[in-house]
Amino acid sequence: MKIYFELNGRPQYVEVQPGESLLSLLRRLGTKSVREGCGMGECGCCVILLEGKPVRSCILFAPKVQGKKVTTVEGLGSLDNPHPLQRAFVEAGAVQCGFCTPGMILTAYALLAENPSPTPQEVRDYLLGNICRCTGYNKIVDAVLLAAAWKGEGRW
């Protein structure tokens, strides 16, 4: 079947397999930031934003995004001009292996859209479904708070 959706602001009209996951489709389309850590919706590495809300793409059938807007980290910034959240993750030391980072950043993006100045505990609560095995989370929380501070200063 063919579906239409918007990926990082670009229209996509693509053939999908019945039962194909959104994760598989997005990787086929070259958005390799969406990665599979468990395939069962448990780790959060494959989180994307669907109409601005964080969603696990490994357990979402691709046809479900028909007519909707999908955002991945490729859509947030560019190598020359990274998004402040991406900068904040690097500056705070929140990127170790980087495998969970895109999902983490998108979840944080959704948090800051809902709540521009979260407390550390609110950040931890919101990131509950995103596993990071490298950092112990401290620096990820720091990164989100740093990005929130920048947002508060009107830097994004």
Binding site: G37, C43, G98, F99, T101, D125, R133, G136, K139
Partner: protein
Amino acid sequence: MVIQLGRPWEVVGQNVPKVDGIPLAMGQPKFTLDMEIPGALIGKLLYSPHAHAEIISIDASEAERVPGVACILHHGNVPRVPYTTAGQGWPEPSPYDTVLFDRKVRYVGDRVAAVAAETEEAAWEALQKIRVEYRVLPAVLTPEEALAPGAPVIHDEPDAQGIYEAARNIAAAVDVVVGDLDQGFAESDVVVETTCEVPYVQHAALEPHCVAAYFDEDGRLVLRSSTQVPFHVRRIVARVLGIPLHRIRVVKPRIGGGFGSKQEVILEPIAAALAIRTGRPVVMNLTREEVFVSTRTRHPFRVRAKLGAKKDGTLHAIEMEAISCAGAYGPHSGTVLYNVGAKALPLYNKAKHLRFHGKAVYANLPVAGAYRGYGATQGFFALEVAMDELAEKCGMDPLALRLKNHIRAGETSPLFEKLGEGREGKPQLIRSCALAECLRIGAERFGWHEKRKGPRWEGSWAYGVGMACAMQGSGITGIDMATATLIMNEDGSFRLLIGATDLGTGADTVLAQIAAEALGIPLEKISVYSSDTDFTPFDKGAYASSTTYVSGNAVLLAAERVKGQIREVAAQILGEPVEHLELAREKVVSRQSGRAMSFEEIGHRAFYVADQRHIMASASFTCPESPPPFAAFFCEVGVDTETGAVRVEKFVAAADCGQPIHPKLAEGQLEGAVAQGIGHALFEEMRFSARGRCVNPTFFDYRVPTSLDVPDLEVILVPSEEPTGPFGAKSIGEVGINGPLPAIANAIYHAVGVRLTRAPFTPERVLQALRKGRAKR
């Protein structure tokens, strides 16, 4: 928090942006499977459903007829070459007890066959259609069962090599004595003894094990692999498949965590064999369940520690006995076992009488291997719980007991010489040790003395505090070698080529900082290219906490050589003796004449004008000693006496890693290691059915710490200056994981007066211990 050492360095000691940070945050396609390989087949494995069985027959004919199936491998059609999956230096100290596919399976999850097919669906279908007839054999699921007389022999194959005693299922054994233990305990005023157990736990790196095998334009085999040990992969694949080593190239792109599980050569030989057999590229990517069951785990251990001390708390005799479960095969079994004693016992070098003995025992369970901490974690659990008991018996503060007994700079331990990498080690003097400062500063930040006055109660919750110390090493003495190549571009910038393997730790950044500092250039003038067996020089790989120290020293040596060449070229151009020339800020300056030349001018002259040469140098460094990092851990727990729930409220870890090259990355290593340790202490455990099947191979059933499980965690870097380290640095990757188990166990004891000696400290176990404690009273 970093305690400043106040050295005048410009790049070292600075929190520069991680060199791969922005690309990773952008989601750039940097991981193994992010590269599209047109026409690649999908490789999948068939696993044993039995814990122990002989394969009577395999019939793949029906599977081969599944449309899209290109190749099926099993014991009947691959060469039989015994090897070890342990990615260690040659000759590996692990037993050669593995072949590609065997006629016998030794655990639920052992590999039986491999399929390569055009699609994943075809591969799965083919796996289901391989007919295997098994003769089920009796299985042993614990070291006790495996050691019992008459137990089934797991490795009865005649061609295995290096097993300590295959007939008794003993993969490796150790027995080392210093002084006279009986005399030591007889002379002791206080003796305590404790036995601690750790279960099967897993690394759970978020990127599953994966590999892409393909052929380059010249027909050479390329393995793009998520590995910590690219050079060992090349060597082992070459031997197992009988391919000349120079026909193989191994590339490690970014990898999604390893923690030791990717120090194993698991998928590469199979993917390579499938690619060679089909002449097609092959991609293999494990599911999370496959990672849990068929890759590697930490070694479960039972460690008994017996301490004898004088009345004043001075340790006099220590006995440690360690029994590990190696699982069905023995990669790292001997070296992890040795490390239990080798890394834990030298911390308390005041004891004159020592014995460390133990066994690594096969069982029909998943295969244990290297995991961050590598035996030290299991050793320190028992040792530091025993120290807590000793402090109580001596009526001492646990902190004071540590301060009295721990090793200091200028001191040694006889065990450095007695216990090496699965064999004898080398004598070593401790040249840097800031453990006393770690203890002091950590205690102060934590509020140890105040909190230790407790426990305090809130309703059914009791709050207590505990502490522990630990050390590790920096590389493997006399074995680990790393090489770095520095090449100058004509604009005065440099390429740094390193075989070292950044598995997310930030090694590329740290090594670039060392190069930049040594050359006196800004970090952005260095491009790092790492972990490619064709284009980077040899490095042992990422394990044994070795990269900053061993690879860092190689970078430093290479930089010195390059600086010498730069001076030589400048001397010719300026017509001044080399001795007059100094390097500073991308220039060579004459101390005599004050004349200066930029690196860019020197680079252009050397490339194009006169006495032409490419300014470049390589240097190797072999680890003459392994300076330990030290750490002190303090934690506060809440224990709900009604439900048995344990909550870590606060955790402080203060570590001496020498001079931190990149403080933020070093903190990240410590924080990450402590978080994993907290998971191991509170809930991580692989569980097995009575028939040896892992019953919780998902993140839902095997919980790893989430953002809500890691408490208020503060890490403090307390620098020392390691004279043999690059810019005074030692390691930091592993030491942090050794503290949480004993610190949390000791805090639970302080809170509720019961000793939890079997990890994880689940509510059920805590309640059980509380009930037993009450019954005793």
